[in-house]
Amino acid sequence: MSADGHLPIDTETSETQLDIQRVGGRIGAEVRGLRLSADLSLDAVQAIETALLKHKVLFFRDQHHLDDAGQEAFAIRLGQPQAHPTVPVREGTRYLLELDSQHGGRANSWHTDVTFLPAYPKASILRQVVSPEYGGDTVWANTAEAYARLPAPLKALADQLWAIHTNAYDYAAARPDLSREALEKHRAVFASTVYETEHPVVRVHPQTGERTLVLGHFVKSLKGLSTADSRRLFDSLQEQVIRLENTVRWRWRAGDVAIWDNRATQHYAVDDYGDQHRVMRRVTLAGDVPVSIDGVSSRLVAPVPPAAA
């Protein structure tokens, strides 16, 4: 480990050299000249994994050859695909989540995918199928950098905190623009089963050993604090995560694929394209249960797990 607590990640050890261009100063890289598919060599897959751990989000332009089946088949090379716990998969696929702007598929608030479950996904693979003429960028934030750059007293504070994450978060407050009908639909599908999970605010990344901040819009409260204290403390830590220095903004073209390490990032889908059509399809890969810096695992609070019921 280096002095700042990071495991050195050496992208040079893999035999396949990727053409990698960094995009942001602290997060994000574009990988050029690679055709994503199930047929990639083991070396190429390992090179992608290594680059992903280092840069947290990777961008691949012009992957027009990928269809739904191709995206799923490629995803299997990186991990175990997993359907969304409450939203039905796209018809004819096993795992694909479709985000269609015409059906309420907008996510313009900062979050890490599915943190209302203990073993939330380790990565997501997102493909743009229909591009608006302009607008609809996605922004990612590096939660490992955010932790690493906290002043020591704030690190010590965050290290001790636990948060309760739920999919029944206040969606109406986050999306005041939505109709009651859309809100009802959201509750009926997205929050059809209400999950609550306790996660440490500081998670040790299972592969890099980096400490990351686990926050985002599924957080309902910080354990053991009053609502007001909880809100204030959440806001000040969340603000550290999304400082512009920790972020990268990607302007999509149809055929682009982004892969992010969901254990080390949050993201935000910019909702600025009005009535233009935008379609994204996502495969998420199964992750493991987070562990705090002192070795305590996240746990499901609701629904009450069968063993404890």
């Binding site: 960094r22 100063g25 313009n108 302009y134 512009l244």
Partner: protein, 297 residues
């Protein structure tokens, strides 16, 4: 109607001048192609750029290897130029600001938190009675990665405020003070001079754009010290609420620099933020600033 306010005649002006404006997003920002800023510009081109600036609020030019004299000449098409009370200038060119994260000091982890205010959302020089109309920034030395500049549309920020907030801030004024950002980075002697030469100025919280008349939120985190005419606690909370609004990504465009890129922004319609994510690499940019001719109203 003229080329500034009418979209159709704007397009005609662009066509006449042989310029292409490619929008960078739905709200603001466009990349301009079809011109060489090393050469003097025809009046039709200047008109089209003026109209484009009003329409897109920030214009991006690529691969313009301009000299210092070219940079100054370009700025003068749009008005008189001004220097800056604190920021260093390029030797021999008092009209060109030399901007880097720590004003020529060696940036260290210790200095980083105090590095210049450019990595906070702000409109330039709102401590002046007549804040500048436009800034023209060119990349002189870029880091290998990072150092993007973001711009935000303050008309859209205003338009999306809740109606009760719009009602509340209509007619309110706020104080803007250079000391709040630059005051702690200068010697005591310079500080005393700034206090004498740049007393705090009062501006409306909502300003009308000098060309379009559109309403813009006109308070910023860097220079606005307080909202006047309200109880202290209420004024403090309202200002904190207002300066946060610009942070929503929907209002922003993020520009990734390339060698010899130039950015030209309407300082009456935007705020901007220079991302400080490239340390320990160096980033030097040079700015020509076009004076404002009106006090905000």
């Amino acid at each position: 109607m003229n080329a500034i306010t009418d979209p159709k005649s704007f397009q005609d002006a662009a066509n006449d001048a042989g310029l292409t404006f490619t929008p960078a997003g739905p709200l603001l920002g466009a990349e301009v192609s079809g011109l060489d800023l090393r050469q003097p510009l025809e009046p039709a081109v200047v008109d089209a750029l003026r109209a484009g600036l009003t329409r897109f609020k920030v214009l991006f030019f690529r691969d313009q290897d301009v000299s210092h004299d070219d940079h100054i000449r370009f700025g003068r098409y749009f008005g008189d130029l001004e220097g800056h009370p604190v920021t260093a200038t390029v030797p021999g060119y008092p009209e060109i600001l030399h901007i880097e994260a720590a004003d020529g000091l060696k940036v260290t982890e210790q200095i980083l938190p105090y590095a210049r205010a450019a990595n906070k959302w702000h409109t330039d020089v709102t401590f002046r009675e007549k804040p500048s109309f436009a800034g023209i920034l060119r990349a002189r030395k870029l880091p290998e990665w990072g150092g993007d500049t973001l711009f935000a549309d303050t008309a859209a920020v205003y338009a999306d405020l809740p109606q009760e907030v719009k009602d509340k801030i209509a007619g309110l004024t706020a104080e803007h003070d250079i000391l709040q950002s630059f005051g702690y980075r200068v010697t005591e002697e310079k500080r005393q001079q700034l206090i004498r030469d740049y007393p705090a100025k009062t501006h409306p919280v909502v300003r009308h754009h000098p060309v379009t008349g559109e309403k813009h939120l006109f308070v910023n985190h860097v220079f606005t010290t307080r909202i006047l005419g309200l109880p202290d606690e209420e004024a403090r909370k309202l200002l904190a609420f207002l300066v946060e609004r610009v942070k929503q990504p929907e209002y922003q465009v993020r520009f990734r620099w390339s060698p010899n890129a130039i950015v030209f922004w309407d300082n009456t319609a935007t705020q901007h933020y220079a991302t400080l994510d490239y340390w320990p690499h160096e980033r030097i940019v040079e700015r020509v600033t076009v004076v404002g001719t009106d006090a905000p109203h």
